[in-house]
């Protein structure tokens, strides 16, 4: 090999390395661009909501009912109260049913049986059904049809409950699965029955994950608009629901109603209501984090 060849090879090698480095830099640019874009979108989203909504955020917004004529005296009391009630109702329905189903599938079900596998697959599929379809179910089955209770608070709670039930089950199952078998074996060896083992050992050990999962599912329910629109939540009612059989609205519905208003001041109120909704969600996520940190168990 002559010196010239060696030099040429070396040059080739450097060029190759340079090209590689250039490609790497280019790709780095793309990656930062992608993250940056997502970040920018989030900033713009929150910024727009804050800029338009914050001026309207006053005590009056919480205490007044939505007005159709005068934006300056309009508030979102009925929507805020409705959202709180709906969340509680959904929780009351979804917590026992979700945990019971998760316990059955994890602790009792024989997974070689076709019906248990059917239940599992079914829950996976239900989790992917669009929320508007749950609205149709609520309209045809709960508001009218077999239950026929009308577009009332209870119907809203049940519809949202059915909607988030699969998510609650999936999260609860994961937490239950994370409890090591040795805990169960120990309890059983001491003579505990199956249910004693499950209720006194497994469930308390899994509660951090379950509680977190339930809260996060509920925050999904709070943000849902489509199913409540379909079942016929009231738009801008000037009263709070006084019972389960009363007409209701919720924050997302009120936001939607306001975005449809030709008066731009009402459209700004949609942003104010969005801020309230986000604050509620933030609060719930905060609670979830606190609970997770307090009860989390490491094995």
């Amino acid at each position: 090999m002559t010196g010239a060849q060696i030099a040429a090879n070396a040059l080739e090698g450097i060029r190759h390395g340079e090209r590689k480095r250039l490609a790497a830099q280019l790709f780095n640019g793309f990656m930062y661009g992608a993250i940056g874009l997502a970040f920018l979108a989030l900033v713009a989203l929150i910024g727009q909501t804050a800029v338009k909504g914050l001026p309207g955020l006053s005590l009056q917004f919480f205490t007044n009912f939505p007005s159709r004529i005068n934006p300056s005296t309009s508030g979102a009391q009925s929507a805020i109260v409705g959202t709180v009630y709906l969340t509680l109702l959904t929780a009351v329905f979804v917590i026992p049913v979700g945990i019971a189903t998760a316990l059955y599938l994890e602790e009792y079900a024989d997974k070689t049986r076709w019906w248990n596998r059917l239940i599992e697959v079914n829950i996976q599929n239900l989790a992917a059904v669009p929320s508007v379809v749950y609205g149709i179910l609520g309209l045809a089955f709960i508001v009218r049809g077999p239950l026929g209770i009308g577009p009332v608070l209870l119907a809203g709670g049940l519809t949202l409950g059915l909607l988030v039930l699969p998510v609650v089950i999936i999260v609860a199952r994961e937490s239950i699965r994370a409890v090591p078998p040795s805990i169960r074996d120990g309890a059983l060896a001491l003579g505990a029955t199956k249910w004693q083992t499950v209720s006194r050992q497994v469930l308390p050990s899994a509660r951090a994950g379950i509680v977190t999962g339930v809260i996060l599912s509920l925050s999904r329910a709070i943000g849902e608009t489509a199913p409540l629109l379909v079942i016929g939540a009231a738009s801008s009612p000037r009263f709070n629901p006084s019972g389960l059989n009363d007409a209701f609205t919720a924050l997302p519905i009120q936001i939607f109603t306001w975005t449809q208003d030709p008066n731009p001041q009402f459209v700004d109120q949609a942003a104010t209501a969005s801020i309230v909704l986000l604050l509620i969600l933030l609060g719930m996520n905060g609670i979830a984090i606190v609970l997770r940190n307090r009860y989390e168990q490491r094995w």
Partner: protein, 317 residues
């Protein structure tokens, strides 16, 4: 110690038996309650399919399925000759807007996933992940508000000078994309992180650079999970309602021009179904037909995604 008489022993034994049978009865009862809860999910599915199917069949008693699946005009709310039940515009609106969204979400989501899984330092990862989660947990109604009041007037008309309608597919599609980025990013990141590090180390040992390892080793190895992530994202966009309802307009159209107004299957349902819609009318039945179509489309997408994961999954020790 006094000797235990046989009658005493007998009594203790029957007590034990009784206690045991009471216990097993209680255990059985509890199991029964749990089974009942589990069956509720089956009942939900049955109820969904039953209601959708019942009204759909009734609808097809009036309108022929051929007209429904091949018609290019969707005007169910008009009267007389103007009325037409071709679902293609709704299907088109659904997939066209989903396509626009994926055009944004696939590159962004995948690049973010590659970055988080292969390049980011743990500290950066810890900072970026919550941003994605925040984006994922945001109610879609706020995205709709954002599309209507910011993306359409400020970005599209203002920044890019595109003469879009107040309600247009471009804005709705783009925001749909933003909505789906976290889904695609976090699911594909999980897939890439589950690729064992021995693969990476092997490639480094052969002289590969970081970029090569990420794109030629990790990415292909995680492909099944990534494809599943993309389908999941698409399925989410297909089922999304309010963004399109608020920003995309409520006019079904079959145009390629994204500055026009569009309607998707989900947004048609939400625009039409309200609590006061009269029952046993053709209008009422259209909600269910379109709902059933949407249900089948998302079911199909999920089926494909499950198949992809099942068939191409690489199992590592």
């Amino acid at each position: 110690m006094t000797p235990v008489t046989s009658t005493e022993r007998e009594r203790v034994r029957t007590d034990l038996v009784r206690a045991r049978s009471a216990r097993s009865a209680r255990e059985g009862l509890i199991k029964g309650i749990l089974v009942l809860a589990a069956l509720l999910s089956i009942a939900t599915t049955t109820a969904i399919v039953f209601t959708l199917l019942q009204q759909t069949l009734s609808f097809f008693g009036t309108v022929s399925p051929w007209d429904y699946f091949t018609g290019t005009k969707w005007t169910p709310l008009l009267a007389g000759d103007q009325q037409s039940f071709g679902v293609l515009p709704l299907l088109w609106g659904t997939f066209y807007l989903t396509g626009i969204g994926l055009l944004v979400a696939i590159p962004c989501g995948l690049l973010a996933a590659i970055y988080l899984s292969e390049f980011a330092k743990p500290r950066v990862r810890k900072a970026v992940k919550p941003i994605l989660e925040l984006l994922a947990g945001m109610p879609t109604i706020i995205f709709g508000y954002f599309a209507l009041t910011f993306v359409t007037p400020t970005i599209l008309r203002g920044l890019f000078g595109i003469p879009v309608n107040q309600f247009n597919g471009l804005s709705a599609g783009l925001v749909l994309g933003i909505l789906v980025i976290p889904t695609i990013a976090s699911v594909s990141e999980d897939a890439m992180r589950s690729v064992p590090s021995s693969l990476r180390e092997g490639a480094y040992g052969l002289g590969a650079g970081r970029l090569q390892v990420a794109l030629r080793v990790v990415f292909p190895a995680a492909l099944s999970g990534i494809v599943a992530a993309l389908i999941l994202g698409a399925s989410r966009a297909v089922g999304e309602t309010v963004i399109i309802l608020i920003a995309g307009g409520q006019e079904p159209s079959m145009t390629l021009n994204p500055t026009q107004s569009f309607q998707s299957m989900a947004s048609f349902i939400a625009a039409t179904a309200r609590g006061d819609i009269p029952q046993n009318t053709l209008k009422y039945e259209t909600i269910f037909v379109v709902g059933f179509t949407l249900f089948c489309v998302t079911l199909l997408l999920n089926g494909i995604s499950a198949k992809v994961v099942g068939r191409f999954r690489q199992v590592y020790e």
